[in-house]
């Protein structure tokens, strides 16, 4: 007997009544009338688990590590009862040919109906051979699996933005999934973060399974439900920011009182993530709560925005590294000096001229 979606929900303590109610909500969310509710109920009661191929490119496997930290739902329940994790090289029993065969089997059986989850990204340099799987570039595996999937989840900052291997000078030309040449036009859900929060990862999956639709995405393809606000917007240290109370140096009086970490370089004001709301590891804490500034780990290219301990970013735009305040102050100084000199010469000239006029 197949453990269906309904079984899973029942096991999680959801009553039949609320299950049906939930199905009708789903119906209206999908713009369908009440007539189709029984159909949805039936589908949910009998539907097999959706297959997921979880590919790994250049990455650090920390997104997988984060995933297994999920408390609600437990990673165990996601893997055993919600999805069918057919391919994931970090967890799967099979290896070599037997592992590779699974991708083909899934494509054959579920063409257009499986989810492709990607952790990491492919390098484009050296014909892709900075990341080899089965003797071939990872890019090939990625494009092949993407061709037949229903939707792509880009796990973490690697798949979403490029992350650390794409930091300057990006020696392998590591490329985020949506920018890989030849990537088919499938919906891509970016779940950035280095890594993303465990419960955010499982919530994205649960949402897709429960509501049978892709979560609403923002302009940059991230689920609005978790990425529409900055860490700063709901940071519990925000009152200290507004008051002008900052940690001036690590382990000072302010650090011991939980003052704002802005002056320590906090990127909370420019980072879209749910850390200050959902928090980490079962809602326990998040970087700022533990006294370290946010380094902006869910943002595109956060590695290349200057020191993590400096709130203002250096520019690298003109081949040089420069800080606006340093350059600006210096330029203002130079301009001021030049003006003084110019004024002096002007005064001299006009004095002379006046002298000449007088003659």
């Amino acid at each position: 007997m197949i453990e269906t979606f309904y079984d899973v929900m029942r096991r999680q303590g959801i009553s039949r009544r609320s299950f049906v109610k939930f199905c009708s909500l789903t119906a209206s969310a999908l713009g369908l009338g009440p007539a189709v509710v029984p159909q949805i109920v039936h589908a949910m009661e009998t539907k097999p688990r959706i297959p997921v191929l979880w590919l790994h490119g250049l990455e650090c496997t920390c997104c997988s590590e984060s995933f297994i930290r999920s408390a609600h739902p437990l990673a165990k329940d996601v893997v055993l009862s919600m999805i069918s994790l057919d391919y994931d090289d970090t967890l799967m029993a099979a290896a070599g040919h037997q592992a590779e065969a699974i991708i083909e089997e899934t494509i054959e059986k579920y063409d257009g109906n499986y989810i492709l989850a990607v952790e990491g990204n492919p390098p484009l340099n050296e014909d892709g051979m900075f990341c080899i799987i089965g003797g071939k570039p990872f890019t090939e595996q990625l494009l092949h699996a993407a061709e037949h999937c229903k939707a792509i989840i880009s796990w973490g900052s690697c798949a979403s933005w490029g992350c650390v291997q794409a930091a300057r000078p990006n020696p392998t030309q590591a490329t985020p999934i949506h920018k890989v040449p030849g990537i088919p036009a499938k919906p891509i859900i970016k779940v950035p973060g280095c890594p993303p929060i465990a419960e955010v990862m499982t919530a994205v999956i649960t949402y897709m399974l429960t509501f049978e639709q892709i979560p609403a995405l923002d302009r940059q393809g991230r689920p609005k439900m978790f990425y529409s606000q900055r860490v700063h917007d709901k940071c519990y240290r925000r009152p200290h920011f507004d008051a002008g109370q900052f940690v001036e140096s690590f382990d000072d009086e302010g650090a011991r009182r939980g003052y704002c970490l802005y002056k320590m370089g906090c990127k909370g004001p420019t980072t879209y993530n749910a850390c200050s709301t959902i928090r980490w590891n079962g809602g326990l804490s998040f970087p700022i709560q533990a006294g370290h500034p946010c380094i902006g780990c869910s943002e595109d290219g956060f590695w290349d925005k200057g020191s993590f301990y400096q709130h203002t970013t250096d520019t690298h735009q003109f081949g040089v590294e420069a800080n606006a305040d340093k350059v600006g102050l210096a330029a203002a100084g130079i301009v001021g000096g030049a003006i003084a000199a110019h004024a002096a010469v002007s005064a001299l000239k006009s004095a002379r001229k006046q002298g000449g006029d007088n003659q």
């Binding site: 250049l58 090289d89 650390v164 590591a174 980490w280």
Partner: protein, 584 residues
Amino acid sequence: MSTFTTPTGFQMDNSGKRVVVDPVTRIEGHMRCEVNVDDDNIIRNAVSTGTMWRGLEVILKGRDPRDAWAFVQRICGVCTGTHALTSVRCVEDALGIQIPENANSIRNIMQLTLQVHDHLVHFYHLHALDWVNPVNALKADPKATSELQQMVAPNHPKSSPGYFRDIQNRLKKFVESGQLGPFKNGYWTNPAYLLPPEADLMAVTHYLEALDFQKEIMKIRTIFGGKDPHPNWMVGGVPCAINMNDDMAAGAPLNMVTLNQISSIIDQTRDFVKNVYIPDILAVGQFYKGWLYGGGLSGINVLAYGDIPDRANDYSPGNLMMPHGAIINGNLKEVHPVDLRNPDEIQEFVPHSWYQYPDEARGLHPWDGITEPKYELGPNTKGTRTNIQEIDEGAKYSWIKAPRWNGHAMEVGPLARYVVGYANGHEYITEQINFVLKTLDVPVSALFSTLGRTAARALEADWAGDQMRYFMDKLMANIKAGDISTANTDNWNPATWPQSVKGVGFSEAPRGALGHWIQIKDTKIDNYQCIVPTTWNGSPRDSQGGIGAFEASLMNTKVERKEEPVEILRTLHSFDPCLACSTH
């Protein structure tokens, strides 16, 4: 093909059938393995290839040394934090920064937490399926399973027949669904699996329990470091300030509440290791103690740098609670000291690695290290540049460099540490090893095996749990004595730094000895080199024909079925390979 003998005495030849395993799964990162299996199903030649490279050492150039920890932490999310710790130690060494006692205790607790977590997750979620057959567990009698568990792990509360029946039913449903998920295409009919169904059911149950429990362990690091994976660190100490009794203590990262939480998780962690992990290892060992392949270099050349400084800022072997030293040629009577600064001791070679040096006959000490990728395949490769069928190990064949200690390929990791500790007469380690040998009724030589590696890891997790308690008590005692300092920021400002300095930081990562070397010029990183545990273990060959620990461990192993690589996986997994680490 001709036979040759490696410097460590392995007879290799290229005869027999070439078997390729790519991808090697249930590891971190990407790896390929090729072996030659002769007509008697014995492995005669083993080739391991690291198949990914990201270029962290290149990316680090020109950056702020205080940021380095965050970059290198992303070398790996499995041994998350160990690179960060090594990096802050490295920068502190270069700049002569002394950290407060509390920071040392906190860092140690974080590192020990990682040891326990990584070992536990490795055993249950990456390694267990090499020993445990979940399909076979369906045949188990839940009542007999319950009795087995009560016998081997009397202190673990979850042991009723009903409990095992529920798990078995869930497993049954899962298997009957036809959607086998991660268990799909496993080698479940292979005679290499030796456990009786009851032991299989017990282990599968603990697979699930461990999956639930591991996230609890890491909460310790979430409190200290804000999140896990990839908690936060800092040069000069730790970012989590302490405030016990002053104004606004509730807003401090560490106060009575959060420290209580940590303390309680430490207790739960120790219970789990002692009541579940260790008994499971002994149970598996009992059934597999006849399968003692996989020793490789472990009885020949092993290396450990040591870690867990008791007092802050003293990294001399006497102050390190984890073993330090090198053993060569199997001579356990002599443990050599290791000097990470000596330009002649630790060197990296690239004649068989996809990198180039101006002179590849010579090795480079990491302070002078060069990381310049060069992908090319040897003339005997079968396949093409982007479709390798069989690799040519006579040429460059891996993204892993080949580190050597005084010219020797070395094994690192829990077993290496335990061998060094045993040779050094480390009391606790000797006691643990003797206990296991006695319980399983095997000779000391059994230690040098795949099973020995797996057992050493479990023993180390147990040890680490105990030390977590030690440092937690130490932290509280120090706070009680009036010291709440967690960071030294005297040299935080780069303006205080010398123009040109170099430093080295090391640690014992879960997978073995880890070193980072830095050169700082004009406040920026001039060169940053890492030699990582899996760089040692997964090392390709050197110009003397010396083979690394992975390759050595596979030699002479008998496989049951050439087309089902379960023995290869079992032995490779016993190292807990981390390929993202190895190449970085």
